[in-house]
């Protein structure tokens, strides 16, 4: 009897057993590999997007201490031109309906926007005491998303064209009841203290233009605001000009210059002068040059100086968008002004969205 054949049964059984184990293991490994690869790809894409956005921030930060203005002639725009998948936009040189003084806002709306473009008449603000709106603790009030926040008043295309939520609250021109709300939000102090703060601040309205260099000292020494409160309020509240002349729409500049309270008389002269300045030139306007152009043929007094709390030469908020394949990154960075004389301005990332 030949018994050697029986070993082939064992071999076959072992082969089947090993095959089953290997199939199971390979399936398991493959599944894990796919998951791992997916994660790795996601991380790599995120890193790539962030690296590209960081390059823009690095270029913007290069000479931040010495720079005299942010203009379309800066080196960062060459980089943007060479990289069409990256977009850079000044998002602060527009009107912020959250904190503009209502009479000025109504003036700007009337001069810039056709009434039929408005969803609701802005005189609503005059017919209803606006302080009631701001004093109501249930009012959301300061909106980061203008749509749906201001959908009641403006169509979406108007909001997009002229308005922004990304501006600092300027101590010289912010609507007083918004200042009060901001004080309560940031310090957590009582409404009475906030009201006291509001009353202190409005003492300077119409009398003094506070510059960023004197912001801390002036608020503390002249208005009696505590150092602790100033440190908490800054940088959301500061004294840097809100918009950058180099990037703001001309309609807004014209609207500001025609505001009755400023009493400008040679508006076209100023606008032409600014436009002519840029013609054939490859540099921006310094603050002194801006002031001399705006104030052409008018005496330099406070009423005219107040416009420089709205118009300056630096961009406070930039939006950076990076688009690689179908993945997208959006950053909003803020130029943080120094509080003390020894500090330097710097950029801080304040918003980040992936895959919009």
């Amino acid at each position: 009897m030949n018994e050697k054949g029986s070993s082939s049964v064992f071999v076959l059984a072992i082969v089947i057993f090993l095959s089953t184990v290997f199939i199971a293991l390979s399936f398991y490994v493959r599944t894990n590999l796919v998951l791992e690869m997916f994660h790795k790809d996601q991380l790599q894409i995120k890193k790539l997007l962030v690296d590209e956005a960081k390059m823009v921030v690095d270029i913007l930060s290069e000479d931040i201490k010495e720079r005299e203005y942010d203009s379309p002639f800066d080196p960062v725009w060459e980089f943007i031109e060479e990289n069409p998948h990256i977009m850079l936009k000044d998002v602060s040189s527009y009107l912020n309906p959250n904190c503009l003084d209502p009479p000025l806002l109504i003036h700007l709306i009337n001069t810039m926007i056709a009434p039929d473009k408005l969803v609701k008449d802005m005189n609503y603000f005059q017919s209803n005491p606006i302080q009631d709106y701001w004093n109501n603790p249930d009012t959301e009030g300061i909106f980061l998303k203008l749509s749906p926040g201001y959908d009641e008043y403006f169509s979406k295309d108007i909001l997009k064209k002229y308005f922004t939520p990304y501006t600092y609250f300027n101590v010289n021109n912010c609507f007083e009841f918004v200042l009060k709300r901001l004080y309560m939000i940031r310090t957590g102090n009582s409404e009475n203290e906030a009201d006291e703060f509001r009353k202190n601040i409005i003492k300077i309205y119409g009398k003094k233009l506070v510059e960023q260099e004197e912001f801390e000292d002036y608020l503390h020494d002249k208005l009696g605001v505590s150092t602790r409160d100033i440190e908490i309020l800054h940088p959301a509240l500061n004294a840097v000009p809100v918009m950058n002349i180099h990037f703001m729409p001309e309609e807004i500049l014209r609207g500001l210059l025609t505001y009755k309270a400023f009493e400008f008389k040679h508006i076209d002269l100023s606008i032409d002068s600014i436009n002519n300045y840029f013609t054939g030139k490859e540099s921006g306007l310094t603050i002194d040059e801006l002031q001399s152009n705006i104030l052409l043929a008018v005496p330099r007094d406070f009423k005219h100086m107040l416009i420089f709390s709205y118009i300056g030469v630096f961009t406070n908020f930039w939006e950076i968008k990076v688009n690689v394949d179908n993945s997208k990154l959006r950053w909003v960075i803020a130029r943080v002004p120094p509080l003390g004389a020894l500090d330097d301005p710097y950029y801080k990332l304040i918003e980040e969205d992936y895959n919009l």
Partner: protein
């Protein structure tokens, strides 16, 4: 009949049958091999059934991680806020978190909740009477019948243009409504750093009662406001 002369039983020397010991040893060997084979087959067959189950669980956890991270990224706290825990309606407990400023809107919330072994991530909004209402979104509009541009003959020589950046105003703010489970236990914890303040949430998950190690997910919010320095 003389059995001694029978050809079947007439064994020569060397043609003897297996001894009792040999039979026992071979039976033992065959038993061991058969048992190992049976054990192996059984394990591998069970593995084949367990793997889809494990894969499904992994996928479920991966999906939960993605939705958790994406949901938190949509929490956009405005730069002027100094303390998040002072924002009205903000709530953080061990098994529940209510986060305002979902998509940058103060009265829109992301609510994370672990109830009866199920973990939910939902979007809510505050109605005029101050009640939290779950947001199921608006029904999708019917597609229009406008003709689409002919893309059948692309120009090969055309320059490659990066796809357009999305228009913020066109973004549909889709709500999140997601449920995952069952899990044995889930805990939620705030993540804060000295440099950046509140930056997000940590999610501890114990999928099964007898799991030795909990799974931890990290989610970062989509903004970094000017927090009050302590």
């Amino acid at each position: 009949m003389n059995l001694k002369n029978s050809p079947e039983l007439n064994c020569h020397k060397g043609d003897k049958g297996f001894t009792f010991i040999e039979v026992i040893v071979s039976v033992v060997i065959i038993s061991i091999i058969s048992f190992s084979l049976w054990l192996g087959f059984n394990t591998s067959i069970r593995l084949l059934f367990v793997i889809p189950e494990v894969t499904e669980k992994s996928n479920k956890l991966l999906t939960l991680n993605n939705i958790f991270q994406n949901g938190l990224e949509r929490i956009t706290i405005p730069f002027w806020i100094s303390e998040y825990d002072e924002v009205p309606e903000y709530e953080l407990e061990e098994d529940r978190a209510v986060l305002p400023y979902f998509d940058g809107i103060m009265k829109r919330f992301l609510v994370l909740e672990f109830v009866e072994q199920y973990f939910t991530i939902n979007t809510y909004f505050l109605d005029d009477t101050g009640n939290l209402i779950q947001d199921f979104g608006e029904p999708t509009p019917e597609p229009t019948s406008e003709p689409t541009p002919d893309a059948s003959s692309p120009d090969d020589n055309a320059p490659i243009i990066a796809p357009p950046f999305p228009d913020d105003n066109d973004i549909v703010l889709n709500p999140i409504n997601y449920e995952a489970g069952p899990f044995y236990d889930i805990g939620i914890e705030e993540i804060t750093t000295k440099e950046e303040g509140f930056i997000g949430l940590k999610l501890y998950i114990l999928p099964e009662q007898y799991d030795y190690e909990e799974i931890i997910f990290y989610g970062r919010i989509g903004s970094a406001p000017f927090w009050k320095e302590e």
